[in-house]
Every structure is written in structure tokens, then in C-alpha cells.
């Protein structure tokens, strides 16, 4: 069986600063993997490299066996590699509903219909209603995102990623800025994802990490420090030192 996502020797430097060095990892169908590491470890940069937002200095990325290193971000999305953004990145003047309509239409390549009425595209309304419901966004469906509470923007960010029907889903701190009561919703939604989907989640909240992840990868100063099951990671002294230690210092 080929891995869904396979990263090999991925490196990136900004000028002299080595932000990612020689990272290799893979995700198989059904994986629930957490990527953790202190602030500035290079987690978001890793996501940007994998999804094609920035080009790597070295290394290869394979998606479902296919080398996608030189493909654009949009092409990778069309192959099923979807991410959510750490800071909600939405269209401020569009309503919640319009976001999901756009995502579904884009996924089905129906966005070049110039004379169709969005309200009448077959199947669209039902699917969007389902997505809204799954994230508890139905009451704000017609609200412009610019006037939405930040936590709800985060939920929409997740709903948008789910709307794309990903094969590999990368969530960059999906619960950051979401009230604790709402973060359960995000986990619930992730639980309901198709089992054969590979999910990589970046998260600082260790409660969430332990509830979600079967495997954990630790990144520190741009390097892969170690990886293993949740139990192994907690027991690993290097992790305590580098990650948990630095977190403790911060407080």
C-alpha cells in the first residue's frame, strides 16, 4: 500500500534562517496524526511547504504515490490535499453560506457557469445545509463573515475544508481562538470524517491532541525530533525538555 502523503527530506531556509531541515514523514489512509512543537518550531512553514504555498529549498512531496513537489497549491487541492489556516482566512464580505457554496461549487468544477443561479444549482442547497449544521453555523448562515465572532470564523474555516472532501486534511491549530465549549464541535466533526481520510492536526492544546491523535510527531527548531504513539511521546525525555519544558517556561 502506498502512503497517502509522503514527505522526504523537506527543507526550507529564508535567507540564512533554516526554518525546516530535512523533515521526512508519511501519512497513511485513516491516520490521525498530531504535529506538535513550541512556537516558532516551523509547523506552519511545514504546512505551507506541503500544500505548495511556498516552494521548498529541497525535498520531495508525494501525494497518493504521485510527486506533487512542483505542482501549484490549487493543483494539490484538486488532488485532495486540503488545509485550514491557523488564522482564519475568509472572504470578509461574503456570508457564511456563500463561503460553503463557493467551496462546493469549486470542488465540483461548476464555477464557470456564468448564467446559472447559485440558489438553483442541483444538490447544492442540501449539501451546504448539511455542512452548516455539522458546525452549528445554521443560525448565522446569512451573516457576513466580517461580523462573525472569531470562534465561529474558525468553525467556518473547518467547514470549508470539509466541504472540499479531502483525502489528506491538514488542520493548522483548528481550535485556536475557539471557546472550549466549541472545540468539542470541531473534534466531533473530525470524528465523523470518513475513516480512510488521513488527518494531520497541528495543535498546542494537549487535551485535544490526546483525544484526537493516534500518533504524534514533534517538531523543534525546524527538525523532526521524534514521533510515536501518544504514550511514547509523553514518556520521551527529549520532548519534555524541548516542548513541554519550553511551554512551562512560558508561563
Amino acid at each position: 500500500m502506498t502512503a497517502l502523503l509522503e514527505v522526504e527530506g523537506l527543507s526550507k531556509n529564508f535567507g540564512g534562517l533554516q526554518v525546516s531541515s530535512d523533515i521526512s514523514m508519511m501519512l497513511n489512509a485513516g491516520d490521525r496524526c498530531a504535529l506538535i512543537g513550541p512556537n516558532g518550531a516551523g509547523k506552519t512553514t511545514f504546512v505551507n511547504l506541503v500544500t505548495g504555498v511556498i516552494p521548498p529549498s529541497a525535498g520531495t512531496i508525494r501525494l497518493d504515490g504521485r510527486d506533487v513537489t512542483t505542482l501549484s497549491a490549487a493543483e494539490r487541492v484538486r488532488l485532495g490535499l486540503i488545509r485550514s489556516f491557523q488564522v482564519a482566512r475568509l472572504f470578509k464580505s461574503m456570508t457564511v453560506r456563500e463561503h460553503l457554496e463557493l467551496a462546493v461549487l469549486q470542488r465540483d468544477r461548476r464555477t464557470f457557469r456564468l448564467f446559472a443561479n447559485v440558489a438553483k444549482v442541483a444538490g447544492l442547497a442540501d449539501e451546504v445545509a448539511g455542512l452548516l449544521d455539522s458546525m452549528g453555523l445554521t443560525p448565522v448562515a446569512h451573516t457576513a463573515v466580517g461580523s462573525l465572532a472569531y470562534g465561529q470564523q474558525r468553525l467556518l474555516e473547518i467547514a470549508l475544508a470539509l466541504a472540499m472532501k479531502p483525502k489528506v486534511l491538514i488542520l493548522d491549530e483548528p481550535a485556536a481562538g475557539v471557546p472550549h465549549s466549541e472545540s468539542q464541535r470541531i473534534l466531533d466533526a473530525i470524528d465523523r470524517l470518513p475513516k480512510d481520510l488521513a488527518v494531520l492536526m497541528i495543535e498546542h492544546d494537549m487535551d485535544l491532541v490526546f483525544r484526537f491523535a493516534r500518533t504524534i510527531v514533534v517538531l523543534a527548531q525546524g527538525r523532526l525530533l521524534c514521533s510515536g504513539t501518544a504514550k511514547e511521546i509523553v514518556a520521551d525525555p527529549r520532548v519534555r525538555e524541548v516542548y513541554l519544558g519550553s511551554r512551562a517556561d512560558a508561563h
Binding site: A88, G146, S147
Partner: protein
């Protein structure tokens, strides 16, 4: 055209909530009422101002042109000072077709739309990777090139003398273009209204939705798998069809086409009219054109030397006090009339 809600994007949602503004395309084009209103006012003007039909005809044709600019700028966020390239191309195409082959007004419109769309698609594919100031320069350059080509191709276009002798056949073989300009005006008004209907259809389509996304955040469009540039090129092409038809409409109703129809001043004037009326609303283009050309007409008659200064002052006033253009003032007024409980976008299904 940053709204307050856009600026306070992240952070606490409460501050944003109070500034929420009409978010839906459907609301921004006044829903179902805007276009019938244009038709009704247009018809009323036909009865009330029978001596000004020539002016009214020019307003209607120009409004179609400004509408094309609204598609590009208001819905695609493409800054351009070269929209007249498509207008001029359409006008010449219609004129050349009429003089040499077929003078049916609908054939002329089709020729103008086709020519405008083609030139927009080809030049758009070449220049729309650029953004901001670079793109602005490139659009100006395209306009200059079109004008220069028209100037050089004297045999076809009449060069700097202009293309004259365009004598359109009766509309549908029944309504002759009379010397009072009645047919001209009603024809222009009808084309404008149909243009508005089609434009509204497009901005409410999946394509229109995607274009609004591109204008706000192209990178986010890539992140859902779209290619921002292809949306912009197609939008530019569609707007080119509108601009080309506006040019053809001018050729039909005025009987002449000059080099200035593709010129930079005409592009810039269209931008002024659009900003005056309000971008991203469709009917703002009509309001802006009518206001600009109406004021021009009145002032140029009473004070031929200073009218441009008045327009300038007027524009400054609008930009300072009504940043969304006259149309946003109309919307605010409508909001006041409807009572204080609205304007959050939640009251519309």
C-alpha cells in the same frame, strides 16, 4: 474599497458585528427593484425630456460601458484605465460591419460584442497576471495600442477623420431611426436594461461568486483549488463583450466612430462615473453616468469654462462623504425608510 467590516477582520467579533454591512450581491444591486426602476425612469425621461433625447441616448450607451467597468472593477477588483480599448474596438467593429456588409442594428451589436470580448480575452490573458500599478499601466498601454492601430488602419476606420456613413437599418425592420432620436433612445434604453439583467444574472451565478472571492483574496481561492487568473481573464472577457456592445450601441445611435472612443480620457471618465455612482452594485454605474453626464450637460451650457471644476468638487464631496458613491447614499436612505432593525444581512432568506 475596504469596508469597515473588512478592516477589523480578525480579533473580537463584537466590534465587527456593529459594523456589518449588506453582504449579499443580491442586496447590493437593490434586489429586484433596481432594474425596473432604471427602465421606468428611462421611459419617464422619454416623455418628460423630449428635447434631450440625444443626451439621454448617450447616457444610456455610456451607462452600458460603465457597467462593463463595474463588472471588472466592482466584482473582480481589476484596476483598469483601459476599458475604452474594448469600447472602441466594439464601436469600430460595428461601424465597419455596417458600412461594408450588414447594417442591421442587432448584427452591429453582435459584431461589437464579439470584437470587444475577443480583444479583452486575448489582452486579458497577457496582462492579468499583473496586479496594482503594473496592471494599471498595462491596461493603459493596451488602450493606446488599439487607438494607434485604429489610427493607422485608415482604409477601414477613417483614421483621425473617424468612421462615418454608418446608417443602421430599422430595428426589426420596423422602427426607423428617426431624426428626433426617438428610436435611438428607446433602442439604447432597451439594450441597457437587457445588459443590466444579464449582468445581474452573471454576478449572481457561481462564476460571479468565485470572482468576488478572487477580488477579496486570490490566495484563498487557490486554497480551495481555484485558479484566480482564469476567473479574472473570463470576467475581463465578459466585461469586454459589454464594453464592445456599448461601443456598437454608440455607433448605431450616433452614426460615427472616432479615435477618442478608444482613448485614455474615455477610460478615465468611465472610472470617474463609476466611482461617483458606486462600485459593485451594477445600478451604481447607471446612476453615476446619469449624474456625471447630466451635470456636465447643465453646467457646460451655463458655464462652459468651469464645469470640470464643478465635477471635481462634486467628486471630492462624494468620495469624502459617501465613499460608496451615490448608490450607497440611496441604500442608506432606503435603510432609514425601512426602519432601524436591518442592515445585518440576517433578515434575508
Amino acid at each position: 474599497m475596504t469596508s469597515v467590516a473588512e478592516r477589523d477582520g480578525k480579533g473580537d467579533g463584537k466590534a465587527g458585528r456593529m459594523t456589518g454591512r449588506t453582504p449579499l450581491a443580491a442586496r447590493r444591486d437593490l434586489g429586484w427593484i433596481g432594474i425596473p426602476l432604471v427602465a421606468a425612469v428611462g421611459l419617464a425621461a422619454f416623455w418628460l425630456l423630449p428635447d434631450d433625447l440625444a443626451l439621454l441616448t448617450r447616457i444610456a450607451a455610456s451607462a452600458l460601458f460603465v457597467l462593463s467597468l463595474d463588472l471588472v472593477l466592482g466584482y473582480g477588483g481589476i484596476a483598469t484605465l483601459g476599458q475604452a480599448a474594448m469600447f472602441g474596438t466594439g464601436a469600430y467593429a460595428a461601424g465597419i460591419v455596417a458600412v461594408n456588409w450588414n447594417n442591421d442594428p442587432f448584427i452591429m451589436l453582435a459584431a461589437g460584442g464579439l470584437a470587444g470580448g475577443l480583444i479583452a480575452l486575448t489582452t486579458g490573458a497577457l496582462i492579468l497576471h499583473a496586479r496594482g500599478l503594473t496592471l494599471l499601466m498595462l491596461t493603459i498601454a493596451v488602450g493606446q495600442i488599439v487607438q494607434e492601430v485604429a489610427n493607422k488602419a485608415r482604409d477601414w476606420t477613417g483614421g483621425s477623420d473617424g468612421l462615418s456613413g454608418i446608417d443602421p437599418a430599422p430595428v426589426l425592420g420596423m422602427f426607423r431611426f428617426d431624426m428626433y432620436g426617438r428610436t435611438s433612445y428607446l433602442f439604447a434604453l432597451a439594450v441597457l436594461v437587457v445588459g443590466l439583467l444579464v449582468a445581474r444574472r452573471i454576478v449572481r451565478s457561481p462564476f460571479g461568486l468565485a470572482c468576488r472571492g478572487v477580488s477579496e483574496d486570490p490566495l484563498r481561492i487557490s486554497a480551495i483549488g481555484g485558479s484566480p487568473k482564469s476567473y479574472l481573464v473570463v470576467l475581463y472577457g465578459v466585461a469586454g463583450v459589454f464594453a464592445g456592445m456599448a461601443g456598437a450601441l454608440t455607433a448605431v445611435t450616433s452614426g460615427i466612430v472616432g479615435l477618442d472612443s478608444a482613448g485614455f480620457p474615455w477610460s478615465a471618465e468611465a472610472l470617474v462615473m463609476l466611482v461617483l455612482g458606486g462600485t459593485g452594485r451594477l445600478y451604481g454605474a447607471v446612476i453615476g453616468t446619469a449624474a456625471f453626464m447630466g451635470i456636465h450637460h447643465i453646467l457646460a451650457a451655463s458655464d462652459p469654462f468651469h464645469w470640470m471644476g464643478f465635477i471635481g468638487l462634486f467628486l471630492i464631496g462624494i468620495v469624502l462623504f459617501l465613499p460608496g458613491g451615490i448608490a450607497s447614499g440611496v441604500e442608506r436612505l432606503g435603510g432609514l425608510l425601512r426602519g432601524p432593525s436591518q442592515n445585518n444581512g440576517e433578515d434575508r432568506a
